[in-house]
Subunit: 362 residues, 2 copies
């Protein structure tokens, strides 16, 4: 009788320790903290996932039951009322790209009588799980989200599966995963990177560096693939020393300085405009002229590219259009008559990018 | 018997027209749309405000009653459960300043076990009212907010009074109003502007323009006061033609171009970094050198100032510190033992600013 035994000892303990939280609704986070396990473990245990050992699973379930933990009453709330609210989960908002996606979502949402609530995962898996749990608990009708770095690193998407399984639609944008079947809005990161690098080659540049993020961010990986393909298609040997992976913006300047001084490159393709502007500043400091000595292209057209000196040529990844499209897809699904649509119905919309030529390459 | 008569005709009409929405919870917005009045009118009518004519008031009340409209059950929800969630309402997120405030709030909130939900008013009064109504309806424990331009223009703060009256704490930051008694976090906009302009005068600049926003934004007004005081204290005649009020960023470049060409100024104090960088780009275009011919200082230290060429001297208005402080004040109030604290207990915290000297003034 492992269940009864576990429950008994366990409940005795928690009654003594946790008398104070009894009146409140217990959350995933509190359960995790109390039992000293991860949020993911709690969440999986409550779904009875066999990934979690029986002992832990039963302990979590007993605790949850004792404190009347209620998993999201999504199905219930969907049947009974519409909140007419869309929940957005994004990694961060300091980057201009995510701000513009939000503006794009707001436009279409407001036109259709929906409000919008935003939560930040801060690129943390735990925060993503907690925020989804909080919002799914009756505050919203559906999600529009871009995955956190840590979620992509872990490859753990059970919290998203859970929400979808309970009937709440999810639309992913930009940082998506093939492991979840749902509506998605992306750009063709590989093709866009390919075209940007090709444009540098067309201008006679031969030693092109790639300044990118760490590998597990899906879009970074795809842009790297596009960069390599463009080189090889033009018979330019691929040199992996010309790929610089930035994990922390604070060290970016030093790493780029080393690249510029050691490798004698004549162009940089940067996966975001912050990396690009740091390249330009660093190049200027060591006496290089942009674009004469060094051509620079950035991914994502934002405010920095427009106002830096020289202005920066960018791959415009229209955040507004992505947001518009994501909101349209979610609202269509929310207002569709067919609640039990087939999985093959899910669409992946590819938003076109284009190169905005500015001073940094001309 | 105006009430009964009104109700009768009215209810007959709405039963016919609106049978479809009967099962749903009716919102302020739906009532406003249905009766073709503003959201503010609905909201005030439900509070029985004498600002609204009796006829309209009774009509709104009858409609609300018929559809079981429930004003925020804040007091109830506060007594029964804590959501451990903070609601943020800000005008927009494209400006770096608001993003950093959010990061500051998230830091302290997460340390204290609170989640954060963000809604954008998009500088619209109606969106501010609707978002507050939505969040106050059980999703959050308290608000941290910065007023929309339109709210400041209208001077209508009844939605905030309502929330506070029902026992939900509100902390305002940056764009605040004296008409609401609550905790506030501000910088001394007047003094900070004074010091920035004084630093330009100390460097020998004599013809200093102010590039600012329209008057009804509270911080813009205060910064203008500081600018004028610094000039007068230094016996520099105040010329109102040197104050440029930008309503729309798209026209900013033309207006600034005219200022630079017509007025032969030697310095600009801009109330945000976007205006400052546009000044620099425009000055460069007409052959002026920054800082030699034109010194530039911007309010708010953001990503543009750091990466523009030349880099821009700024008044650092620490968004992180503001966010930290606002979150601390809200959480203290939420967790205070004394639920019915006296009004005089409200504090206004002033966050110190400092001048970050960069290339645009040196």
């Amino acid at each position: 009788m492992p269940l009864i035994k576990t429950n008994y000892i366990f409940i005795t303990k928690i009654i003594i320790i946790n008398f104070t939280i009894m009146k409140r609704k217990v959350t995933l986070k509190q359960i995790a903290k109390e039992l000293d396990v991860s949020i993911s473990t709690v969440s999986k245990s409550l779904r009875n996932s066999l990934e979690i050992g029986e002992d832990t699973r039963l302990k979590v379930q007993a605790f949850a039951k004792f404190y009347n933990y209620k998993p999201n009453n999504i199905a219930l709330s969907l049947k009974n009322r519409k909140t007419k609210t869309i929940g957005i989960i994004i990694p961060e908002i300091v980057h201009h790209f995510f701000s513009t996606v939000i503006n794009g979502i707001e436009q279409v949402a407001n036109e259709n009588g929906y409000s919008v609530i935003i939560c930040l995962s801060d690129d943390s898996f735990d925060k993503e799980v907690l925020n989804m749990e909080m919002l799914a608990n009756g505050s919203i009708d559906g999600f529009i989200m871009s995955l956190s770095k840590e979620t992509q690193f872990k490859g753990d998407f059970h919290h998203i599966t859970e929400v979808i399984d309970q009937g709440m639609p999810v639309v992913m944008f930009d940082r998506v995963t093939n492991e979840i079947l749902c509506d998605k809005v992306i750009i063709d990161d590989k093709l866009s990177a390919y075209e940007a690098v090709q444009s540098l080659i067309d201008k006679g540049r031969k030693k092109i560096a790639l300044v990118t993020t760490v590998d597990y961010v899906s879009v970074g990986k795809l842009r790297t693939d596009g960069y390599i393909k463009a080189l090889l298609d033009n018979n330019i040997p691929f040199d992996e020393n010309l790929i610089i992976k930035i994990e922390d913006v604070d060290t970016c300047e030093i790493i780029i300085g080393k690249l510029l001084e050691d490798k004698a490159i004549d162009a940089v393709f940067a996966v975001n405009e912050l990396f690009a502007v740091i390249c330009i500043k660093t190049a200027n400091k060591i006496g290089l002229n942009v674009p004469k000595d060094l051509a620079v292209i950035a991914f994502t057209d934002g405010i920095i590219s427009k106002y830096s000196t020289p202005t920066i040529t960018t791959v415009s990844q229209s955040g507004i259009k992505m947001g518009n499209k994501a909101a349209k897809m979610l609202i269509e699904r929310l207002e569709s008559e067919h609640e039990d649509e087939e999985e093959e119905n899910y669409k992946t919309e590819v938003i076109e990018t284009h190169l905005i030529e500015r001073e940094s390459t001309s």
